[in-house]
Symmetry: C2
Subunit: 378 residues, 2 copies
Amino acid sequence: MIKFSINKALFLQALTATKRAIASKNAIPVLSTIKIVVLDKAITLTGSNGQISIENTIPVSNENAGLLITSTGSILLEANFFINIVSSLPDVTLDFEEIAHHQVVLTSGKSEITLKGKDVDLYPRLQEVATESPLVLETKLLKSIIAETAFAASLQESRPILTGVHMVLSNHKEYKAVATDSHRMSQRKITLENVASDFDVVIPSKSLREFSAVFTDDVEKVEVFFSASQILFRSEHISFYTRLLEGNYPDTDRLLTSNFETEVVFTTASLRSAMERAHLISNATQNGTVKLEILGNSVSAHVNSPEVGKVNEELDTLSISGNDLTISFNPTYLIEALKALKSETVVVRFISPVRPFTLTPGDDSENFIQLITPVRTN
Amino acid sequence: MIKFSINKALFLQALTATKRAIASKNAIPVLSTIKIVVLDKAITLTGSNGQISIENTIPVSNENAGLLITSTGSILLEANFFINIVSSLPDVTLDFEEIAHHQVVLTSGKSEITLKGKDVDLYPRLQEVATESPLVLETKLLKSIIAETAFAASLQESRPILTGVHMVLSNHKEYKAVATDSHRMSQRKITLENVASDFDVVIPSKSLREFSAVFTDDVEKVEVFFSASQILFRSEHISFYTRLLEGNYPDTDRLLTSNFETEVVFTTASLRSAMERAHLISNATQNGTVKLEILGNSVSAHVNSPEVGKVNEELDTLSISGNDLTISFNPTYLIEALKALKSETVVVRFISPVRPFTLTPGDDSENFIQLITPVRTN
């Protein structure tokens, strides 16, 4: 029967990080609990929503944890409830003791709280991933790739494969991440070094966003392990599992061509704020598009929503070259594309009013490209 | 037809303050608009939800406003939409011009946005309050009285009069504010000076909470005016109207007696955190009460929720006197009462397990008293 004492603040931090995997409502009731496994040298906290699972380990060797394990064991406790209780305790440390079958007493200062738990055998077995020959990535780099691509994935379950980010490694070094919802696409390439095995996986974009929230910036590197149906991201104390999406990801390379007829360079921030104004008005109608007019030396944006109003605006540009062109599109896609760009300037290249246009950062035209499909208007 | 130019940031601030009166959904559609009246020397913005109304005046004399009025007039504009548009404008100033019947053009930098408005005659007439012989109050004092009482008002419309705070002035100086939801009561008394007329009104607690949000701490004093059905709080630029509640407020004085059998002095913060722990567990059951046991020289708190767990805790006290006593109550009422107390210590006086107990600040037993009704348990 479990017995340990621990620093309250550190325990709470680990519980809160683990809770990120736990959905407040789940079709499988036991997944609203947190699994606490106490071994001789460490405590492991596990949370899962069936899609992603987080395992958080607090070792006795962590001096900030003030962890003293007297007796081992395991139990399930209602996650939200347990975390609220721990957070309310008066003292800096707490004693956790299993006093009877699935009954736990928390003592802290003069406060003594008894809680009912559940048998750990009720918890589903998380699929296992072999931890051999990891791919090691800088956490910061992986988070930046996620920020550049995951937003472009589809939110609709009608084509489940498009809700993921396609991550591919070829020739042991050419890494590519791409996401598309069929209206826009975002692709980041990077050259990695010393990678053992190529891979080709589709990771749910939702899981990747959770990854970015769970692995804080003080975690320098993560190890990545693959199995047929899962991927595991692991740092010193956190193991983050996510299910992979099954199926063939569409061939996105065929969408990218290098020819174009018109090229405009904008300041990223000024184009974004103009599109945000356009969106306020375009959003009020079903059509919801903004019209961009490139005429000689000027670019202007126009929205007309008969019921609420209209926008006419001349845009600031850094350079314009090529043919005149008028093209309509959903400004939301352009706003989100610009948000993902870290460079001060953006190069926009058009082929025709009915062909997708591309965005590349002003300082890197090779490795990061985005594509937006226009809307045909009459 | 309206024409003016104004500093965007200041205009936005006034619009946002006015919007507080505007409900996002209202049975009367025109109340989702903001009324803009442009006179020679000032602009007035009006928002209302039918219960409260806010009028915000921006005078030409306000140097921060950079207000230049070229032509006067009035119009209604969809509040949320208009505020979002103004907030998105690129330049520090904006030009507002009515170009045709209920059509407005906003120009700012290179951006030009046309909006449709409505005829000002569609806006309901707000009831008027005569602005003679005001009661002048310090804003800070009035906000502190609201914080001490409004929370104790009822949220249920079954007895509408109890959703208000009863404010009474007697003998031209004795001011009393009291609120009760029939389970607990909070009463603040203050002696005012030089007040012309006595009053006896019941103000919706919701309106008072809005008052506290609208009048920021830099507004030193407010003038208060009464009519039969409305009250007006007015500062230099803001007029805040609220409807009064009709009916007789129950006689709360008869609930207060000076005799008691047991007195305990607690540190406010430590009693509050003990009650917050108790509440986490008590909240899980229908009964939802905490039991306080005063036995000789100790006070302890107990909760037992058979399904989730229990709490047993010895409470820190500063002094205990009188008879032993066991009493049960809803810890939420005590938590909220303690939140309203600014003093470091609190004096709690009990008569019997079935009679309401009182709370007074350790540093002022005369002017601020709260009362909580126990729950009978077997």
